[in-house]
């Protein structure tokens, strides 16, 4: 009986998703000037259950978001909340806590997801590191255009079936 319990517990632990260790994120919300608009965006982000706190600088419209410990964090859900509030995202800078990840050249895996650094800097997989997300809805269109040729080249190389997401970052 005890052995069966041990097997079940082990299976449950193995089945838990492995999540990237984001400790905080700064999002530059664009397309707004009024505090009522910032308020609406903050309320929208606060609805996410993994969000601990949101602090918005009303003059720069940069939202600093911290996360509840132990909760899986989904950056894409935060970005969606900004768009749902009626505004856009100009920049996403996340702080990532490295814990024994194996970096293969410019990329590393977290569960099924892959993170790839597009900048020329080497990835130092220790402690807290800031990274800017590089994606169409995660940054200003003019900034994304600069990375587009690089992303297209990577896509050509990593074609094939992937179960997880491939996130491009600059660090």
């Amino acid at each position: 009986m005890n052995r069966l319990l041990l097997v079940i517990v082990s299976l449950v632990i193995l089945a838990l998703p492995v999540n990237a260790q984001f400790t905080s994120v700064k999002i530059n919300v664009i397309g707004l000037t009024c505090s009522a608009c910032s308020f609406g965006t903050e309320r929208s982000i606060r609805q996410l259950k993994f969000v601990e706190d949101v602090k918005v600088d009303l003059n720069t419209n940069i939202a600093e978001i911290t996360f509840k410990k132990g909760e899986p964090v989904y950056i894409d859900q935060i970005v969606k909340k900004v768009y749902d509030a009626g505004f856009s995202v100009g920049k996403v800078i996340a702080t990532y806590h490295f814990t024994n990840e194996t970096v293969n050249g410019k990329s590393w895996n977290v569960g099924e997801d892959t993170y790839m650094n597009l900048s020329t800097n080497a990835v130092d997989p220790s402690g807290d590191k800031e990274m800017t997300f590089v994606a169409d809805k995660y940054m200003k269109k003019s900034d994304y255009k600069l990375y587009k040729p690089q992303i297209d080249a990577v896509k050509m190389m990593v074609k094939g079936n992937r179960s997880g997401h491939l996130y491009y970052v600059a660090m």
Partner: protein
């Protein structure tokens, strides 16, 4: 006209050195409220009609279906009209031919439910950048009411049943913002089967220009700061004349400006207080710049209070 254009230019020039806001009291911007956000607004308008105080009240519910789609319902009440055209609205000459001199002014009417208007707005363009955006939206209005509007000029928020549509372009450019709302109204006919009266209202086209700026605070420190915004809105409307039939016979309109085709430009300045970044209070008035509207007397005083309610997804 030249004078009003000059005033408009001077105003545009003067606001260009301030931050502006687009929470216009009398016109919707191209932006919508956020997804799953409900705004509830109660508004009241008053003017004097030859000693009689005319009051109009509207209760508006706006809901963000998504970032791009928004549904608005407005229920309105007023003492502007009766549920039927007043007795004596249609007279007969010595040969029995029908004619009208319009509804007499200053007449007392009971306070009645006027109409329900449904507005569906779709934001089809959104170009956001740091402290600026350009957005465009298209909308359609559907209105159903039960009052007997006695003027040619149609108005879907209260006076008439019917439908309308328009396009809004809103520009926010660092220190300058403006919104243009252009549309048309197709009013439904009023029919009094019992008395054999049918009244067709003029079709209308309108162009509204809205501008505003943030007076206070100069620098944001918290959500608790009360924001004070000033607005200037210019409403231009042109409409056709009313056509009235009594038992199939055309009713002649004898020198009644309120029933004839018309166009006018109205100026609506407002002051707005946004309390705790969530409650909005607007105080404004309307004055004519070129010609006038015959659906109300001037000045029209307006007050509204609005609250946002955020729903969980």
């Amino acid at each position: 006209m030249k004078q009003s254009l000059l005033l408009l230019f001077l105003f545009l020039y003067s606001v260009s050195s301030f931050f502006t806001q687009e929470l216009f009291p009398h016109n919707e911007p191209a932006s919508n409220v956020g997804k799953n956000v409900l705004t509830v607004r109660a508004s009241s308008e008053e003017f004097q009609d030859q000693g009689e105080i005319r009051n109009f009240q509207a209760y508006r519910f706006q809901f963000g279906l998504s970032a791009n789609w928004m549904l608005t319902e407005t229920f309105s009440f007023s003492n502007h009209h009766g549920s039927q055209l007043p007795n004596g609205f249609i007279l007969h000459d010595s040969l029995g031919a029908p004619y009208t001199q319009g509804a007499s002014r200053g007449k007392s009417y009971p306070y009645l439910f006027e109409s329900m208007k449904v507005n569906l707005k779709y934001r089809f363009l959104c170009r956001d950048s740091e402290h600026k955006h350009f957005r465009m939206a298209a909308y359609a209005d559907f209105s159903g009411g039960n009052e007997a509007h006695a003027e040619a000029e149609p108005n879907l928020t209260g006076d008439n049943s019917g439908m309308g549509a328009g396009i809004i372009s809103t520009l926010l450019l660092h220190k300058f913002a403006a919104s243009l709302n252009a549309g048309g109204i197709l009013p439904a006919d009023y029919k009094d089967v019992f008395r054999g009266i049918q009244m067709s209202y003029g079709k209308a086209a309108y162009v509204n220009l809205s501008l505003g700026y943030l007076l206070y605070p100069r620098v944001y420190t918290s959500y608790k700061q009360t924001n004070i915004n000033l607005y200037a809105e210019f409403q231009f409307k042109t409409y056709g004349g009313a056509q009235i039939l009594e038992n199939g016979r055309s009713v002649s309109v004898q020198d009644v400006p309120a029933l004839e085709p018309g166009s006018y430009l109205e100026f609506r300045p407002s002051i707005q207080f946004i309390i705790r970044s969530n409650t909005r209070v607007d105080l404004s008035l309307a004055e004519p710049l070129v010609n006038r509207s015959w659906t109300h007397y001037y000045p029209v005083y307006m007050f509204s209070i609005q609250q946002n309610i955020y729903f969980r997804q």
